[in-house]
Symmetry: C2
Subunit: 528 residues, 2 copies
C-alpha cells in the first residue's frame, strides 16, 4: 500500500506566485503542478471556489485533495500548507443487522478507529423481508428506510468524529460493502426484485457516486462494491477480494456465515458461488436464551464430570449464549451423549435435562440447564441444527456440483463475526464444518469490511473486482433434486454418513472406551 | 449537426424485460443497450433511483438522457417511452450588461426561442469595475453578485418556460460564453485579479460543472467556454469559434465591439488577440441622449438640405439615439462640414447648432439639435470619437504589431449587437472601420451566443476550442510606446492621414465639388 495508490490522494503543491512573466491562472497553476507530480485531474466547483484567497494566503503552498470518480481524478478541495498526512477515508460493512465503519489513515494505511452500530433499518423490521415488504412499491416508505440507512452511517461518522476529532468533511472517499438489499436501500431503490422471480436486481454496480448525492456529509465519492446476482452482493465480492482466493492456483473455500451464508469455492480460474439463509440461529437469534456476542454471553462451553464449565464475555455472570457458545454446547452435549445423533435430548443422561414449557413455542419440551436459570430447549437445538445443516449442505452441494473433493481444497476461509469466534473443533464435532486438518480452516473475521478497506487503499483492486465478477458463477442452492435429502443427511450429528467425520467418530470411540473404563472403575469402587 | 454529436444525447432503448434466462440488472440492461447503440456511459445517482418502477411501467421502452461531463457520458435521467425528440439545451451569452439565452432543440439544431435580460449584477454597479470593487475580498458581497447572476439566468429560464412550456429540468446541457469577470462571478470567484497586475485570473477553464453545483435548475452540466487571458475571455474564444477564422488559410479580422472591444487577427496558423475598453459610448452609454437600441431610438440619420432625416426603431417619435444612429450622425456632420476634422462643431454651418448648457458636464457647449428637443453635445462627440479612435487604433496597432497590411485581410467580421446594426459606410466615414471594399466587412451579430450554440450541438468543437486557445497570443494594447500617438492620429475624422481613407477623401472632394456647383447655382439665381 502506497499513499498514492488508493481511491483518494493528497498532494502538496509548491508553486510560484503569479508574476508578470508567469500569469497563468490559479487553476492552470495547480493543474500544471499536479501534472508535474504525474497526475492529471479536473476541478470540482467547490475546489474552484476555494482558489482565492486560499492560494495567496498560503503563499502558494497548497495541498490538493483528489478523489477518484471512476474515470478521472477530481480535485475535491484545497487546503493551505502541507496537510498530506491528514488523509482520511472510510470503509463500511453495511450489514442488515450491524453496520461496521472503519476510519483509515490513507497515507499510512492504518486503521485509526472502528465503530459499529445496529442498522437503523431494524425499526422497519428485524427481518430483512419485513423491511422489503414495507418499502415495496411505496416510495415514501422506501425513502424512510433509505434515510434510516443514511442516519446509521452519519451517526457512525459522528461517533468517529467524537473519538478522533476528524470531521466527515475530511473523508475523501468511502467504500461500502453490503448485500444487494442494503445497497438498494442505500441508494433508494426498491429491493423487492431481489426476492422475486426472475431475480433481476435494479442496480448491481452503482459505481462511484458523490457523497452529497447520497446525502452523506463526506467530501468525496462513495464506491459501492458491485455484486454478481441477487443473493451474491458486494459483501461476498469484498470477501473474495479480502481473502485473495481468486488469485491462488490452489482451490479455496470461502464461507461468510452471518444472517445469510455466502459461499464461494474456487481459485484463479473459477469461482462457484452460492448463498442461502443460514438463519439468525448463528447470531443467537432464534435460540430462547440466545444473545449477540456482548458482555455476559456464554462464548465457550465444556462439559466434564456432569457439569458445565462456562466462559462468558467480559467474565460476567451468564446472561445468555452467543453463537460460539451454542456450537460448543451442542458439541459437548453430543460428545457426552446428552443428545443423540438426531439432536434429541436424553433426559436419563443428566438431572440437568428436564421437561419444561418453552416460552417461545408454548410447548412442554426437554431442556438442558446450561447455567443457573438458563435453558437450552429441544426446539433451540432443532433450529440450530437446521442452520448448521444448511451451512454444511451448502458446502457439500457446492462440492458435489463442481466435482471438487474436500481434499482438493487447500484453505477453508471462515468469515464473519461468527466464523471469527467459533471454535473449529466444536463446529466439526457437530458437522457444521467439514472434518479436515484444523489448520486448513482459517477464521478471517469481517472480510466484507476488510475488502472495502483494501480497496480504499488500493484502486488497482478495481480491476481485481472486475476479474472476480467475471470468475463468479452463481449456483442456486435448493434448485437441485437431491437438496432436501442432503439437508436431511446433514441434520444428523455430525452427519448420517459417519465416514465423512472420521475424527469425530474417533472421539466418540475414545470417549466410549474411556467411559467403559470409567464405568468399570466405579464398579470396582462399588466393590468397596 | 447530427442529433448525436452535441453535448447531450437522448437515446430510445428497446429492451427485453428480465426473464429467467436473462436476469441482468436493470442497470446492466440499460448500459448494455447503450453499448449496442455505441455509447458507453455511467449512471448518475438520480438516474439510478429512476430505474424502478419506470422501466417496468414503460415496458422496457425507455429513453435515456445523457450528458457529456467532459470525460464520459453520464446518464442523467430516464423517461418512459420515446422522448428522443424532446431534446433541449441552452446557449448563453453572459454579458456584463445584457444576458442572452437561447433554447435549442438539440435533435434538430433549431433555435426554439431566445430571450434576453439586463444582467441583475447591474444592481451592484452599471460599470463592471464598481461590481468588482464591491465584491473585492468580501465573500458576502461576492455571493450577492453570484446570486444576482444566477437569478438572471433562472429568470431567463422561467421566461423560456413561459414561452415554450419546456421546463429547466429538461435542459440537458448548457454552454455559457462570457468574459473572465462574468465567469468568475458565475462560479463565485473574486474577479479582482483580472484588473490587477500581474493579471493572473483564478479560473480560465472551469470546464464542465454540474448545474446543481452552480445552483442552476438544469439537469445536466454547464460548460463555460474557456478564455485565454484576463481580457480575453470565453466570449472571444466563442466568437472566433463562431466565425471560423481559425480554420481559414486567409487572414481575417474579428472585432467584437460592445462595452469592451475584443479583437483577433489571424488564420489557421496564428491568432493575435487584444482587448480594450471600447467604452459604453458604443451602446449609447455616455452620450447625453444616448439610449440602447429600443423603440424610439434613432438608428439611422441622414443630413440633406440642412435638415436631419431620421429613422427610429419601431417608427416611434425620437426618444434618444443608439449606436448606429450616432455613427450615422457623426458621419453626416463630418461629411457636411458641420464638424471639422477634430470633431469640433461649426456653429456657422447651421442654425441647428447652438451653445447650450450640457446637463452632463454642467458646461456651456456647442450642441446640434438632431431631433426636436434632442441635442448632441460637443462632449458627446468627444467621447464618441475617443471610443472610435480606440477601436480603430486597436486594429491599426494589431496590424502594425503583426506586419499585416489591410489588404492582406480577407474578411472583417464585426460582431456584437453594435457590429450588426451599424452602417458600414458611416463607420468608415468617421474612421472607425478601415476603408476597405465594403463586402469585405461582414456584420456577424452575437458571435458569443452563436459559438455557444454551435458547441452545444457539436462537442467535436471542444477540440477546436483547444486549438483556438493554443493559437491565441495576447497582444496588450497601450503597452507600446507609440500607442498614444496612434490614438491621437485616429482621433481625427477619419484620421490625420487621409491616405488611409481614400473613399472618404473622394466623398469629401465630390461633395466640395457639388457644393461649389450648388453654391454657384444660387449665385446664378441671385442674378435674377
Amino acid at each position: 500500500m502506497k499513499p498514492t495508490s488508493g481511491l483518494s490522494r493528497k498532494i502538496l503543491l509548491k508553486m510560484n506566485p503569479p508574476s508578470e512573466e508567469d500569469s497563468r491562472s490559479s487553476q492552470t497553476r495547480i493543474l500544471d503542478a499536479l501534472r508535474t507530480a504525474g497526475v492529471s485531474a479536473s476541478f470540482s466547483a467547490a475546489a474552484l471556489r476555494q482558489l482565492y484567497p486560499l492560494c495567496d494566503n498560503a503563499g502558494w503552498r497548497v495541498t490538493a485533495s483528489l478523489g477518484w470518480n471512476g474515470t478521472i481524478w477530481e480535485i475535491l478541495m484545497l487546503e493551505a500548507g502541507d496537510t498530506e498526512k491528514s488523509h482520511y477515508g472510510l470503509a463500511v460493512d453495511l450489514g442488515s443487522t450491524s453496520v461496521y465503519m472503519r476510519l483509515l489513515n490513507c497515507s499510512t494505511g492504518e486503521t485509526i478507529e472502528e465503530v459499529s452500530e445496529y442498522n437503523r433499518q431494524i425499526a422497519f423490521g428485524e427481518d430483512i423481508l419485513t423491511r422489503i415488504f414495507y418499502a415495496k412499491d411505496n416510495p415514501e416508505h422506501l425513502d424512510e428506510i433509505r434515510k434510516a440507512t443514511i442516519r446509521t452511517l452519519t451517526e457512525l461518522m459522528s461517533a468517529l468524529r467524537k473519538k478522533t476529532g476528524i470531521a466527515p468533511s475530511e473523508y475523501l472517499s468511502m467504500v461500502v460493502s453490503g448485500n444487494m438489499t442494503m445497497i438498494h436501500f442505500l441508494i433508494g431503490l426498491d429491493p423487492f426484485c431481489i426476492f422475486q422471480t426472475p431475480y433481476a436486481v435494479r442496480s448491481d454496480a452503482p459505481g462511484f457516486l458523490r457523497g452529497s448525492d447520497l446525502d452523506l456529509p463526506i467530501t468525496g465519492y462513495v464506491y459501492c462494491i458491485p455484486g454478481r446476482a441477487n443473493y451474491l452482493g458486494g459483501d461476498i465480492t469484498s470477501g473474495i477480494l479480502a481473502t485473495g482466493i481468486y488469485k491462488e492456483e490452489n482451490i479455496s473455500l470461502f464461507f461468510d456465515v452471518g444472517t445469510n451464508g455466502e459461499l464461494a469455492v474456487g481459485n484463479s480460474s473459477f469461482l462457484l458461488c452460492g448463498a442461502g439463509a443460514a438463519g439468525p440461529a448463528l447470531e443467537g437469534g432464534v435460540v430462547h436464551t440466545g444473545m449477540r456476542a456482548a458482555p455476559g454471553a456464554v462464548e465457550s462451553v465444556s462439559l466434564a464430570g456432569g457439569e458445565f464449565h462456562l466462559k462468558t464475555i467480559g467474565g460476567e455472570a451468564p446472561a445468555g449464549i452467543c453463537g460460539s457458545g451454542i456450537v460448543d454446547l451442542l458439541s459437548e452435549l453430543f460428545l457426552n451423549g446428552w443428545i443423540n445423533l438426531q439432536g434429541v435430548l436424553q433426559p436419563e443422561k443428566s438431572s440437568l435435562i428436564s421437561i419444561r414449557k418453552n416460552p417461545d413455542t408454548g410447548m412442554e419440551e426437554a431442556a438442558v440447564c446450561y447455567a443457573p436459570g438458563l435453558y437450552f430447549y429441544q426446539n433451540d437445538i432443532r433450529e440450530f441444527i437446521s442452520t448448521k445443516a444448511a451451512a454444511a449442505t451448502m458446502i457439500e452441494y457446492m462440492l458435489q456440483a463442481s466435482g471438487i473433493r474436500l481434499e482438493d481444497i487447500d484453505r477453508f476461509y471462515m468469515a464473519g463475526a461468527f466464523g471469527a469466534h467459533i471454535h473449529k473443533e466444536s463446529a466439526i464435532d457437530i458437522g457444521m464444518y467439514p472434518d479436515v486438518e484444523r489448520d486448513r480452516i482459517c477464521p478471517v473475521g469481517n472480510t466484507s469490511l476488510e475488502g472495502a478497506s483494501m480497496l480504499l487503499l488500493n484502486r488497482a483492486l478495481l480491476t481485481d473486482i472486475d476479474r472476480i465478477l467475471d470468475l463468479m458463477s452463481y449456483v442456486q442452492f435448493g434448485a437441485v433434486d437431491n437438496f432436501v435429502e442432503m439437508m436431511q443427511a446433514a441434520s444428523a450429528l455430525p452427519h448420517t454418513d459417519g465416514r465423512r467425520y472420521p475424527s469425530v467418530m474417533k472421539k466418540l470411540q475414545d470417549r466410549a472406551a474411556r467411559s467403559e473404563t470409567q464405568s468399570a472403575v466405579p464398579c470396582a469402587d462399588s466393590r468397596d
